[in-house]
Symmetry: C2
Subunit: 410 residues, 2 copies
């Protein structure tokens, strides 16, 4: 039995195909490339029941992943993150079956580790020695550290305003770290130049075909965790959009395998009102988005003014009868606090955005009260310390706590 | 079949016993209380093979945990953290089979979540409405957030110098947060007073009997992840010591169940040279430690000048033919960087301390080259941003990356 049933790369725009033992970036037509598998082969040789006995990491799905030789896998045990019922917040917004998948519980504290483990592993398999990428922080942290584990060199360029902790992660990994006084789009231009100048592997979002395969495991896991019964709605915070594209790809593959049946979940792309190019395109009924000028949001991971895969995101939400929703920063922060106080989870602002969006869509009736809804928290709240304002009471050693009567009696 | 096979509480010092439906803190003799189980009942009704089919959280071991009604479980999907081979660092220190168990991958980013999920769940079961505790940061974050999930009130007192991110976690949880200009021992005194004044449940380390049960799951998982073959050595960063006591308790229970055989792993308590009361007691052949004056270490989690369970730690390392080792802060930081660059993992200083200790013990021959060694990384490095000094190159939008020739050719 084969470790991977990868068959070839194909272009979702022009239909061109490529084989998978060489290094490829974009299609000659400029579109991202996607991976195809011999799904019939998997169907004949693998039953979903077998998966339950495998270790709880995303590599349990190795037949559906692109790495052909297990020895190339660069893993830190990432994946099989919890899918947790949020009963109190769910009741609060009248969605009884509200689940959060917690991507804070992976190495580097964000879902970017999924893309990095698969992307770096496959890069190793096709002989990459040095990669480069722009990042809003978390992807750079993940790729920097996984590249280090693979013994690969990495050059990472991130905006000066990206979360400071992600600088530390990249620096500690030994990668070459550059900060740019601009946005991820500016970092991208610098990386593109360096890729040309020094013949590096371009690991920018969707410029290599494999990180999406890592991210699709979120979709595989959701299906397996619901025992191969799909939820009704999945909400995803959308910057580059690879997570959403990946989940959609996973669900289609599972359907082709016959492991799931019926209607696919409606996929919802959630953005910030300060950077909502895909929401705008969606509302205008267009298939591609325009560059969003002067974008700004504290949810740094979704501050992406123009995503290379925007058309894939728009296809995915259109095909599944989903939608795109923008929420403002203030609402995200309120939701973040509510989640901590009602559910005990310190999620990131991007994750909080999906909860706000679910609330809005329930209020306007787009989500029904008895539907099963999954929101993705794409990272740990501890990576964003500045979202919380703290004014604790200061005590001296000899002080005692004086509680207000209301407090101790309530 | 019962959810839990808990039988009673007992005092490891005076032998007194207590039943488990009431709230208890310390034994009347002043010692911490431990939980005992009907291991014969478990042995008759549960086979370890069944566990493999359960969800990947520590609650898979519910028969060996104290919560009797599953409805009381307060969980965020914690546990079954990766046990990852560190091949390059292992080779570097001539320990081929060096594994790290990564406790950064749990809610709140530290192993404290294990104690909190079990401690808060059992507190709910015995009717606790409000708890209080001192903390060096991570335990407070975990208990604050799990208490919030349980709908329970919490009062948390931490040193002003504790990691800032843990303040944010506690504050966001809605707990009452107080900072004290002192050490955890000073915070402990303030909590003890408040517990008396307001009749609160004292959730201080080992003053309630159940958090240790959560922490013992690290030992259960290590055994299961090695397919019920035990490693030779386990190194644990030791502050309050509950993790080490818990692992020891787990291993003894597994042995009594007949799920593991042979010699128990040698347990190693790792401390900082700036706060090494247990190492000192160990070296002096004593059964209890003295208060360590003016303790100081950047590994904040192990800055505990006097642990209530010191005698249990010393017993555990003595019974298993283990030892206690102190390492300095400088070595920890070097090891932290090495782990990131060679293994791609950003671990916390406490975790790095265990690697340094393993290196020392290998150098002096205490650990053999062919032994299987497990170190515990008790938290995510991202919770300690200040351990990394970063001086990245700053670019303007129009700049290009100029790589040194050595760099691009090496």
């Amino acid at each position: 039995m084969k470790y991977s049933y990868i068959s070839h790369l194909y272009c979702p725009k022009c239909g061109n195909t490529y084989e998978t033992s060489e290094q490829y970036q974009l299609c000659t037509c400029g579109s991202p490339l996607l991976v195809d598998y011999d799904l019939e082969g998997i169907s004949r040789n693998l039953s979903p029941d077998v998966l339950a006995l495998r270790e709880p990491s995303l590599w349990r799905y190795h037949e559906l992943l692109p790495v052909e030789n297990a020895a190339n896998v660069v893993s830190l045990g990432e994946g099989m993150t919890p899918l947790t019922l949020f009963p109190r917040v769910g009741e609060n917004m009248a969605i009884e079956k509200l689940y959060m998948k917690d991507e804070g519980l992976v190495p580097t504290g964000s879902f970017k580790a999924r893309g990095a483990t698969v992307g770096v592993s496959k890069a190793r398999e096709v002989g990459v020695k040095e990669l480069a990428m722009p990042t809003n922080g978390n992807a750079g942290a993940a790729w920097g550290l996984y590249a280090a584990r693979a013994g690969m060199k990495a050059t990472i360029v991130m905006p000066y305003d990206a979360p400071e902790i992600t600088r530390n992660e990249v620096a500690l990994s030994g990668a070459n770290l550059y900060l740019v006084n601009g946005l991820i789009s500016d970092a991208g231009k610098i990386v593109a130049k360096a890729v040309g100048d020094y013949n590096l592997y371009d690991a920018s979002t969707l410029k290599e075909p494999y990180r999406i395969e890592g991210k699709k495991t979120m979709g595989l896991e959701i299906a397996e965790q619901f025992n191969w019964q799909l939820p009704d709605v999945i909400l995803y915070p959308t910057g580059g959009g690879v997570g959403l594209i990946g989940i959609y790809k996973a669900l289609k593959e599972l359907k082709a395998l016959g492991w799931v049946e019926g209607k696919l979940p409606r996929l919802v792309a959630v953005q910030s009102t300060g950077c909502a190019p895909i929401v705008k395109a969606w509302e205008e009924g267009r298939r591609e988005s325009d560059f969003w000028k002067d974008s700004e949001t504290l949810a740094f991971g979704i501050n992406v003014p123009k995503a290379l895969g925007d058309f894939l995101v728009l296809d995915a939400i259109s095909d599944t009868e989903g939608c795109a929703v923008a929420v403002d920063d203030e609402s995200m922060l309120q939701e973040q606090e509510k989640i901590a106080q009602m559910e005990g989870n310190f999620i990131c602002p991007e994750g909080a955005a999906t909860i706000t969006a679910a609330r809005k869509l329930r209020e306007n009736g787009w989500i029904g009260a008895d539907e099963t809804v999954v929101v993705l928290n794409t990272g740990a709240g501890i990576k964003y310390p500045d979202t919380v304002q703290v004014k604790p009471e200061m005590l001296k050693k000899e002080d005692t706590i004086v509680k207000k009567v209301e407090e101790s009696e309530s």
